[in-house]
C-alpha cells in the first residue's frame, strides 16, 4: 500500500473530518502524534500542579512546627502530590506521551494498532485528574492516607475523599491498561514488513516490557481498590482488622502493582535515554542484545520483588530472604544497562547540548538512586530506615533524578520533531543547571535526615532536623524557579525559535527520516526500513550507511 499523494488519500476516505491546527489538540483526535502531544501537555500541567503541592510541603517543612498549613491539610497535600505526580505526570508522559509519538515511527507504522482505544485512553486522564483535585474542594476533605492508601488509615480518614481518590485511580489504571494493550499490539503486530524484533530501536523494547508490566500488574491494583472501596462504602471487612480482615493482604496486592509501577515509570526512561545518547555521542548503542535481555530480566524480576516494601509488616523470615535476594538481583540487569550507556559515551563525539546534559545527569542521579535502592533491599538496613526520609530521598532520585531528567532530555531532543523549531540552548542550559543543583540540594539531604531518624509523612519534626530541612527547601525553591526558563523556552520557541530542519541531529532512527513536524501519515511514501537504528560512526572509507551521517563525518 503506497500513500504517494495525500490528496489521493483524501479522496479515498471522504468524510470523518477532524479539526485542524491547534484545535485538534482539544479534539478526540485519532492521530498518534496529536495524542502524544495531548499526553505531554496534559501531563506537564499536572506536573505544575504537583509541583505547587510539593512547594506547600517544602514550605511547611522549612520549620519544625506545623505553622504553614494544618496537619490535616498537610496530609491531603502530600497524598495529592504523590498521586498527581505518579498517575497524572510520570506514567502518562513517559508511556502515553513519548510512547504514542515515537512507537509508530519506530515500528514503521502510520498509527497505533487501535487509534480509537488510544484516544479513549487519553481522554480518561483529564476527567480523572479533575476529579482527584476537585475532591479537595468538593468532598470537603481530599484523601489523606498517602498515595499508598494503606488501610486501616484509609478506612478512618474522611470517606468521601478516599472514595473519589479510588475512583480517580481506577480511571487512570484503566487508561494505563488500554495504553499497554495498544503498545503491545503495535510493537508485536504492526511492525513494518522486514523489520525484525532485534532491529527495533531500544525504546520499543522498553515500551514492550513496560506494557507487559502494565497489563499484568495494574488489574491487580484495580481489584484491590474495588475491595477497599467496599470496605469504605459497604462496610465489608477485607482489610479492616476490627471486622476480622487483613491489612497485610492489602499491602501485598498494592505492592504487586506499585513495585512494577516503579519500572513502568523508569523503563520507558531507560528506552528514551538509549535513543538520545547514541545520537549525541555519534556512536552505536553499546550492547544492544544485552540491553534487550536486561529489560526483559527487569520485567520478570520486577514482578517478584514487591514484598521488599513490607519488611516491617511482619513478613516471615523466608519471605524476607527471598525478596532481599530477588531485589538484589535487579541490580544486575540495571548495572548492565548503566555500563552500556557509559560504553556508548566512551570515545564518542559528544555534543553537550541541553538534551545530552539532562541525559548524562540522569545516569549520575540514577546510579545514586540505584545504590541506595540496593541498600534498601537489605533487610537489616531497611528496617532501620523504613518510613524515614531516606526512602523519600531514594524514591525521588529514581523517579525525579531518573525519569523526570529523561523527560526533559527527551523534550529538548524531540521538540524539533514536534514543532520544527529548536529550543533555545542558553535557556536550556540554565534550566538544566537550576534543575540539577536544585534537585540534588533538595533530595540529597533527605538521606541524612532519614538515617538520623526523621520519619516521612509528618508535618512536624524534631528541631534538630531543621538545618537539613531548610537546605532541602531551598533546593525545592530552585527546582520551582527552574520551570520558568523551561516554560519561557517552550512557549517562545514555538513561535520564534530557530528553524530546525527535518533532521537537526543527523539521526538515523525513522522518526527523523521525514519532515519536522511530520505529515499526517508520518511519511509521504513508504515507511523507511531502518534495520540499523544506531549505525553511527562508520569509518569514512566504508560505504556510508546514510547520507545524513556523511555530513557529520
Amino acid at each position: 500500500m503506497t500513500l504517494a499523494n495525500p490528496s489521493e488519500l483524501a479522496q479515498s476516505h471522504p468524510g470523518n473530518l477532524q479539526p485542524e491546527g491547534w484545535l485538534r489538540y482539544f479534539s478526540f483526535s485519532l492521530d498518534h502524534k496529536v495524542i502524544g502531544i495531548q499526553y505531554l501537555v496534559c501531563g506537564f500541567i499536572f506536573y505544575l500542579i504537583g509541583g505547587a503541592l510539593a512547594g506547600v510541603i517544602r514550605t511547611e517543612l522549612a520549620s519544625p512546627m506545623a505553622d504553614f498549613v494544618s496537619r490535616e491539610t498537610y496530609n491531603e497535600v502530600l497524598t495529592l502530590h504523590g498521586t498527581v505526580m505518579i498517575f497524572l505526570w510520570i506514567v502518562p508522559v513517559v508511556n502515553g506521551g513519548f510512547g504514542n509519538y515515537l512507537i509508530p515511527f519506530y515500528v514503521g507504522a502510520r498509527d497505533m494498532a487501535f487509534p480509537r482505544l488510544n484516544a479513549v485512553a487519553f481522554w480518561l486522564i483529564p476527567p480523572a485528574g479533575i476529579l482527584l483535585i476537585s475532591s479537595y474542594f468538593l468532598a470537603g476533605a481530599a484523601a489523606q492516607s498517602g498515595w499508598t492508601a494503606y488501610p486501616p488509615l484509609s478506612l478512618t480518614t474522611p470517606a468521601a475523599g478516599q472514595v473519589v481518590w479510588i475512583l480517580s485511580v481506577l480511571l487512570l489504571g484503566g487508561s494505563s491498561i488500554f495504553g499497554g494493550i495498544n503498545f503491545i499490539a503495535t510493537i508485536l503486530k504492526l511492525r513494518r514488513p522486514g523489520l525484525g524484533l532485534m532491529q527495533m530501536p531500544m525504546y520499543c523494547w522498553a515500551m514492550l516490557g513496560t506494557s507487559i508490566l502494565v497489563v499484568l500488574s495494574t488489574p491487580v491494583l484495580a481489584g484491590t481498590l474495588i475491595m477497599l472501596s467496599f470496605d469504605i462504602i459497604a462496610h465489608t471487612g477485607f482489610f479492616n482488622p476490627a471486622l476480622g480482615g487483613n491489612v497485610v493482604v492489602y499491602q501485598h496486592l498494592f505492592w504487586f502493582y506499585s513495585h512494577p509501577a516503579v519500572y513502568i515509570m523508569v523503563l520507558p526512561a531507560f528506552g528514551l535515554v538509549s535513543e538520545i545518547l547514541p545520537i549525541h555521542a555519534r556512536k552505536p548503542l553499546f550492547g544492544y542484545v544485552t540491553m534487550v535481555y536486561s529489560i526483559m530480566a527487569i520485567v520478570v524480576l520486577g514482578l517478584i520483588v514487591w514484598a521488599h516494601h513490607m519488611f516491617t509488616s511482619g513478613t516471615p523470615p523466608w519471605m524476607r530472604l527471598f525478596f532481599t535476594i530477588a531485589t538484589s538481583f535487579i541490580a544486575v540487569p540495571t548495572g548492565i544497562k548503566f555500563f552500556n550507556w557509559l560504553a556508548t559515551l566512551w570515545g564518542g563525539k559528544i555534543a553537550l547540548n541541553s538534551a545530552m546534559l539532562f541525559a548524562c545527569a540522569f545516569i549520575v542521579n540514577f546510579v545514586f538512586g540505584g545504590i541506595t535502592g540496593v541498600a534498601l533491599a537489605q533487610v537489616p538496613f531497611d528496617i532501620h530506615v523504613h518510613d524515614t526520609y531516606f526512602v523519600v530521598g531514594h524514591f525521588h532520585y529514581i523517579v525525579y533524578g531518573g525519569t523526570v531528567f529523561v523527560v526533559f532530555a527527551s523534550l529538548y531532543h524531540w521538540y524539533p520533531k514536534f514543532t520544527g523549531r529548536l529550543l533555545n540552548e542558553d535557556l536550556g542550559r540554565l534550566h538544566f543547571l537550576l534543575t540539577f543543583i536544585g534537585f540534588n540540594l533538595c533530595f540529597a539531604p533527605q538521606h541524612w535526615l532519614g538515617l538520623n531518624g526523621m520519619p516521612r509523612r509528618v508535618a512536624e519534626y524534631d528541631p534538630s532536623f531543621t538545618t537539613l530541612n531548610q537546605v532541602s527547601s531551598v533546593g525545592a525553591l530552585l527546582m520551582a524557579i527552574s520551570t520558568i526558563p523551561l516554560l519561557i523556552n517552550v512557549v517562545l520557541t514555538a513561535f520564534k525559535g530557530d528553524i530546525a530542519g527535518d533532521n537537526p541531529w543527523n539521526a538515523l532512527t525513522p522518526e527523523w527520516l521525514t519532515s519536522s513536524p511530520p505529515p499526517v501519515e508520518n511519511w509521504l511514501g513508504e515507511a523507511p526500513l531502518v534495520t540499523e537504528p544506531y549505525g553511527y560512526g562508520h569509518t569514512p572509507d566504508k560505504e556510508p550507511s546514510n547520507p545524513s551521517v556523511n555530513q557529520v563525518a
Binding site: 488519500l9 484491590t224 523507511p528
Partner: protein, 214 residues
C-alpha cells in the same frame, strides 16, 4: 544499507512541502493506512490477560485470608455443592455450544449458528438465575464475615462478567440475522464474544475449585 539511503532520499524529498500544506491536503488525519491488519482479537486476548489478573488478585486475596485469618465462631467455609456443580456443568456445556455456533458460522450456516447462539445465551441466563437462587438461599450476607465478603466479591465479579457475556451473545445473535453484520467471512463480533465466553467459563472452573471444593 543502500536501500536505506534510497529510502531516506525518497522520504526527505517529501519534506519540501511546508507542514501547513500537508495538513490541508489531507483534511482527515484519522483514517490511516488501509492495509492495516485486524488485530482486534489479539487486543481482546491481551485485555483478557489483564482481566484474568484481576481475578488472580481476588483469588490470591481469598486464599491468603483463608490461610491466615480464622473465621469467627459459628461460621464455616462449607457451601451447598449441588447448585454450583450444576452451574459448572451449565457453563462448560455453554462453551461447547458456543464453539458449535462458531463452527456453523464459519461454514456459512448462519441460521444454525443463530440457534446455537440462542442455546448458549439461554444457558448463560440459566446460570445467572441459578446463581440468584443460590444467593438467596445462603445463610450469610455480604458483611457477615471475611469469607462471606470474599465469596460475594468473587462470585459477584464473575456474575458481572457472565451478564456482560449474555448481553454480547444477544447482540451477536441479532447480528447473525440475514443481511446482518456477521457473515461467514466477516465475523469478528462472534469470535470476540466466543473468546470472551470461554475466558469467563475458564475463570468459573478455577473459582469453583477454590471456592466450593477446597
Amino acid at each position: 544499507m543502500t536501500s536505506l539511503s534510497n529510502l531516506a532520499d525518497s522520504n526527505l524529498s517529501g519534506s519540501d512541502l511546508p507542514d501547513s500544506e500537508l495538513t490541508k491536503s489531507n483534511p482527515h488525519p484519522t483514517d490511516h493506512a488501509p492495509s492495516h491488519g485486524d488485530f482486534r482479537l489479539f487486543g481482546l486476548a491481551t485485555f483478557l490477560v489483564a482481566d484474568g489478573m484481576t481475578f488472580a488478585g481476588f483469588f490470591a486475596a481469598y486464599l491468603t485470608f483463608r490461610a491466615v485469618n480464622p473465621l469467627p465462631e459459628g461460621s464455616s467455609y462449607e457451601l451447598e455443592l449441588l447448585l454450583p456443580t450444576i452451574n459448572t456443568l451449565i457453563l462448560i456445556v455453554s462453551s461447547l455450544t458456543f464453539h458449535q455456533a462458531g463452527k456453523a458460522c464459519r461454514a456459512n450456516q448462519l441460521a444454525k449458528a443463530r440457534t446455537w447462539l440462542m442455546v448458549t445465551g439461554g444457558l448463560g441466563v440459566a446460570f445467572l438465575a441459578s446463581q440468584m437462587v443460590e444467593y438467596f438461599s445462603l445463610p450469610f450476607g455480604l458483611t457477615d464475615n471475611l469469607f462471606a465478603s470474599t465469596f460475594y466479591a468473587l462470585t459477584g465479579f464473575h456474575g458481572l462478567h457472565v451478564t456482560l457475556g449474555v448481553i454480547c451473545i444477544a447482540i451477536v445473535t441479532l447480528q447473525t440475522r440475514s443481511n446482518g453484520r456477521i457473515t461467514a467471512t466477516d465475523h469478528f463480533g462472534l469470535e470476540a464474544a466466543e473468546l470472551y465466553w470461554h475466558f469467563v467459563d475458564g475463570i468459573w472452573v478455577v473459582l469453583y475449585g477454590i471456592l466450593y471444593l477446597l
